[in-house]
Symmetry: C2
Subunit: 461 residues, 2 copies
């Protein structure tokens, strides 16, 4: 019995005249001159294998009547294909219909809108576009692990359910086993001591704080897991559930952090171009014309570094009018970020050392008393893609900043412990994995790079 | 300026006489004959590097007074060590105290109980045992991705927040943004249409159903992500949050499934032995005497396969008395599983084709009308470590079984769609990652192989 060959392998390694067994799903059937041509796809590659069925086939009529979406297994001989765009085709000796599909199958050959395809997210996987998206997503995720493993970074599974920040924060999803119809109350407030964890808990928004604890024991670590935002915003760039990559390095400063971010992003760009070439070519043709050129430029660039203060000066001098104000002390908006990376630098640029008021409490306070050691990496077409910082490693400074910003140091005493004993300068960054996939594929809606996206009012499948 | 060398690299590749800069945390300080010896660990390996400080060092007194837990950076020359158990040591030319630690540091050199260390899970990372546990955990997680990537399996991020099974199921954590103190009610029931997702949602217990959808497009896929159980059970083997690996293959039957599970487990055993040798040696010495021999035996074994019916017969004939009854139709208890793998087979064994009444609705119904194509892989010392099945691919059979077991087919219509168009025989399994780590390290409490474990009444850090 012949073993199954994946289509990708048959197309790349198959020899004319060799026997081959392929299994997959029918993308299209077409007959001409008494011969029947089937496009067979098994998800291993964008390209399908053309199966040629001739009248001498035992179930020729059944095969000609196959519907789009049917599952079949075909044995035959590979042969050179006279058709354009494919070197090989499979002359069928035997076609087994494994699972039929009638005309009610929603993924007929015609083009569907992405909006419609979101309503059948369980079937859109069998289309060219979403096949390519999820192959690239998988390949990049595996490459993320390879990148860090090669550098001796420890992979950490930080907790998903957390009690941090769960008293009040508006963007948190609550996690509970209390009976919501009859919650236990004490003086009108929910008695969380009766909840599963004996306290209020929610879904994590970041693994960074726990990641820092690991860095203080293993030097170099990273997380790669799901994070959550209960933001009621229906934009093309926001999802309630998404995956984040957060490396953290002990004995490292902001420069080391930028070095790592630069190597990381360039590596992922190169990987997509080299290892997902067929899918990237598809995106470049069908989704986003300049994609490959843009990704190639990032892969080869030397990333610029610019102080926030200089960025503000450059923006003030810009011969364009921005929608949002530009002033030292204000955060950069997407229009400003894109101007900096596209017009001023003409390539990726790190903006360094932001005003402390617009950044998180844990970022390292610079000697100027005004800025913190934060960095954002901006890239052409999207603006910010990575955000990071050197962390405040000095116990007194960190405690003072928490008090200034209204965070009770007692509530994060375990976090402060990492500054109490054996503290080190350390730094890390966060990369939203979906934003990366959008960037690398040109897909413009985050709902189209997540298998089953979660957004306000949507949790299907 | 010399670049930092990790301790692991210094010990394995360092040359006597070469200059070296190491950074890490002090595990112990000891003085003798006017010389000061520091055990320095940076998390890259179990073994630390011995730093030798002599009185000619500028800050010799400061160095001798260093506390356990302090962070230091040391420059010096590697030299052959006269001490037993280490080939190299570092003669310090310069010691920078990066972050001090006083005697209040909870991880002093004496042995602590695992129970105590759980209360300082943010610091236990800096101990030998937990250093080894989390290095092995990371290395195995990365190897899981390598294993599947090599075989062309697509990595899928299935949803964490789900609306499946959220009406009533007791073991689900509810996810909500409703005000728990004042939930919106309609006729005494919670009005989930006002919740974030306009419906009742909870945390996933498995990515399998969504994984099956992906297998019907990409042939071979796997998930590796967090899953949840709101079970109020305080055992050494249960956690509320844990990571699962779930591969799924289209065009595959129960035998293919067992073949994959066997290759997978053997590969992970070999990986731990070969790539985590130092840590495994530690576990073998300190935690579980027969560990390496047992893991080696699994790595080299040819796994047996036995029908459930035969297993019941063997157990009935067993010259031992079990606590739980043995009868065709009853599930196997841990004592039965261990007897089968340890006494009957003397090695790993798949038990195949269980009575349908004790297995899930989605498992493929066998022709005998009594059993389903389920498999459990049993290994010596723990019993079941992997559970899987061939899935019911026939729409009518699956629908009928759902109705028999009280599941509304309408609620999973998207799942049934995968059987409606292009259905294929397919199979997969699930492996609890923490159970695997416990098995490979000999650690006996699941709380000790999870960075920050979530169990009833516990969600610290």
């Amino acid at each position: 019995m012949t073993a199954r060959t994946k289509v990708k392998q048959a197309l790349s390694e198959g020899k004319p005249g060799s026997e081959c067994l392929v299994k997959g799903w029918v993308r299209s059937v077409r007959t001409g001159k008494g011969v029947c041509f089937i496009q067979l796809n098994d998800g291993s590659s964008l390209a399908g294998l053309q199966v040629v069925a001739e009248p001498d086939l035992a179930n020729f009529n059944e095969v000609c009547a196959l519907g789009t979406g049917a599952a079949i297994a075909v044995t035959g001989l590979l042969q050179e294909s006279p058709a354009a765009g494919q070197a090989l085709e499979l002359k069928a000796a035997r076609v087994e219909v494994v699972g039929g599909a009638d005309e009610s199958y929603p993924m007929q050959k015609k083009r569907h809108s992405f909006e419609f395809l979101r309503t059948i997210a369980h079937l859109r996987l069998r289309s060219n576009t979403f096949g390519a998206v999820f192959r690239v997503r998988s390949s990049l995720a595996q490459e993320v692990h390879r990148f860090f493993a090669e550098r001796g970074f420890l992979y950490v599974h930080t907790p998903i359910i957390t009690a941090n920040d769960c008293e009040g924060a508006g963007e948190l999803f609550r996690v509970t086993t209390l009976d919501l119809a009859k919650p236990p109350l004490v003086n009108g407030s929910v008695d969380f001591s009766q909840d599963f964890f004996s306290r209020a808990t929610g879904l994590t928004v970041s693994g960074q704080l726990e990641g820092e604890l690991f860095a203080q024991a293993f030097s170099d670590i990273y997380t790669f897991g799901p994070t959550f935002r209960a933001e009621n915003s229906n934009t093309a760039r926001h999802a309630a559930e998404f995956w984040m990559i957060e490396p953290e390095m002990a004995f490292a400063d902001l420069n080391d952090d930028a070095d790592l971010a630069e190597s990381f992003l360039k590596r992922l760009c190169s990987h997509a171009l080299e290892n997902c070439a067929e899918d990237m070519q598809f995106f470049n043709t069908q989704i986003d014309k300049g994609l490959i050129e843009r990704i190639q430029a990032v892969a080869n660039a030397s990333f610029a570094r610019m102080e926030y203060g200089e960025a503000i000066e450059r923006l003030k001098k810009a011969p364009v009018s921005f929608q949002f104000p530009v002033e030292w002390g204000l955060d950069l908006q997407s229009e400003h970020e894109r101007y900096l990376t596209e017009q001023v630098v003409g390539g990726p640029v790190f903006i360094l050392n932001y005003p402390k008021e617009i950044k998180a409490f844990y970022m390292r306070q610079n000697d100027d008393g005004k800025t913190v050691a934060a960095m954002d990496l901006l890239v052409p077409k999207v603006g910010e893609i990575i955000g990071g910082s050197q962390r405040e490693e000095r116990l007194d400074r960190l405690t003072a900043r928490m008090q200034e910003t209204g965070i009770d140091p007692e509530s994060l005493s375990w976090y402060l412990d990492s500054r109490r004993w054996g503290t080190t300068p350390h730094a890390g960054f966060g990369l939203g994995f979906e934003r990366l996939i959008m960037y690398l594929t040109g897909m413009e809606n985050i709902r189209d790079v997540i298998p089953f996206p979660r957004t306000p009012r949507h949790a299907e499948f």
